[in-house]
Amino acid sequence: MARALRWYGANPLHLLVLLCSFALTAYACVRLFAVRPVEVAIWLVGAAILHDLILLPLYSLADLSALSVLRHRAEAVPKAPWINHLRVPAFLSGLLLLVWFPLVLGISRPYPAATALTLDVYLPRWLIITAGLFGVSALTYALRLRRLRRAARAVERGARPGR
């Protein structure tokens, strides 16, 4: 018994919980795959890999590219780290697009006929929201830079007394 458990790799409760879970899963999957099983399987497997193997590499690459682009610029004036002033509005705007893209991109064909509403408001609204997000971010960055430069000048003046 102990040998079997060692071979299994965990305690018997672990196995019990997993087996119960798989039983429920199988019961539901039989019904889930009853109609159009291949397409449903593609969607389920696709869902499993969509974020980890498609979305995450894409946004990680974008983030790393942004980080490396201005790394080599000469630092003539005191700078505040700017990456988050780019990341946060991009994240918020991208998130809104990710959730609402069928309306924003106008690809939900049944929508106008079913609701008696138009799709054409969504893209301009998303663009304005995006512009607003980046605008606020740029403003806060500018304010931060001003504060930093003022502090740097105050330090300089303090280091050269009597001038």
Binding site: W7, Y8, G9, A10, H14, L15, V17, L18, S21, F22, L24, T25, Y27, A28, C29, R31, L32, A34, V35, R36, E39, V40, I42, W43, L44, V45, A47, A48, L50, H51, D52, L55, L56, P81, I83, N84, R87, V88, F91, L92, L95, L96, V99, W100, P102, L103, V104, I107, S108, P110, Y111, A113, A114, T115, A116, L117, Y122, R125, W126, I129
Partner: protein
Amino acid sequence: MNGDERPPAPGQDRAPEPARHGGRHPWRSVRKATADAIARARSTARRAQETPPPPGPFRPGFWRSPIRGPWLTSVFGLVLLFGIPVMFVTGALSYAAYNPGLGPLNDQTPDKGLLGFYLFDWPTHPYWLYRLTQGVHVTLGVVLLPVLLAKLWSVIPKLFSWPPLRSLAHGLERLSLLLLVGGAVFEFVTGLFNIQLFYIFPGSFYTLHFYGAWVFIAAFIVHVCLKSGRMVRALRSRGLLAELRTDRARTRPEPPDPDGLVAVAPAAPTMSRRGAVGMVGAGSLALLVVTAGQSIGGALRGTALLAPHNRNPGTGPNGFQINKTAASVGVTPALTGRAWRLEVHGRGPALVLTREQLLAIRQRAAALPIACVEGWSTEDQHWSGLRLAELAAMAGLPEAGSVLVESVQPPGPYSSVILRGNQIHDPRALLALRVNGADLSLDHGYPARVIVPANPGVNNTKWVHRLTFRT
């Protein structure tokens, strides 16, 4: 190599065998061959465990984020630990609200079997019940998406853990995790697509979303059982308030953890942990702001900038939100014109009434909203018409237990619906002929529609032409 060859045990001498067995007992050679095979398999497995991980994400040095670690994962996990059960319960209630037990007309998943164990008679009190449960379900789902994405980001090194299969237990756990991630994203994607009428999924939304929910919750329960201890320990390892006071310059990686989440070669932090949590929170807040208005309605409806039902399709008494227009389901003015009659069946001969005759009967009023499975709802509208209870009495079945409501709509899902006795006998449940002081518009169900308190919108049948009361 010859460690498994043992000298014969004392007392076990080799009896003289006939020559045809080659001088050895056949059973012993089979045992020896099996033992050899097992030993070979064990040493291969041992060598496989010891092979170095392939280059790339399988190597621990690949992952550089200094804020990744059990604490951050546990914060997102804690939010989901509260959010997902609310999602599951409100979703389960939504299915119950359809009264699927009344028959296949109300049920898109008739083969649910044991998964419908919890179903109960959907009440009519409070009249805004479905508006609340479904508004929460959809809005919370939208709001939780960034938390889900952040949680997946925080555990990505585990997708590439090496060796991929340490034991059977490890393998089963990984299978369950595949179902967890796949199930979660499947549920969120089908839900988000459905509320935008983006029907590209492979089948009926109800079937996919209902069974997908059970696949997901089965894996979710395993995940909570196996990880809650680790989550509690991780949350205790760093104070939340202390972390909220830690800025980027003072951000340090967590101590190495057995799960391999903490980077072994972390880069310098570009964002503090409070910044990461704050950014995800800002994402949820942004989604809440642009979505919630379509469920709350009233003055806030216009704030739901990106939600599907954030505007009024018209002005005046019939200007409130429409689920499906008459044209989109094939209802023409010809079907609802002067030739329209209402048939009421019950005990005895059927009644056939024109709209004028219906209007001549004493009209009752009720203030009720329309709440859709897509999460949006209207404010209370002022309906007037005949009480369903009075129509049941006219049909000779004052104690009717159910009514089959049929629409002139061409046959399709929910073109006919069954209502339960408690819904018939609620004094606010009407066969409405007018709304907000004017005749129903064609898109809102002219000449007559059903409106029942706490009923999902699609069960408030429009363009009704036949009621069949049953005991």
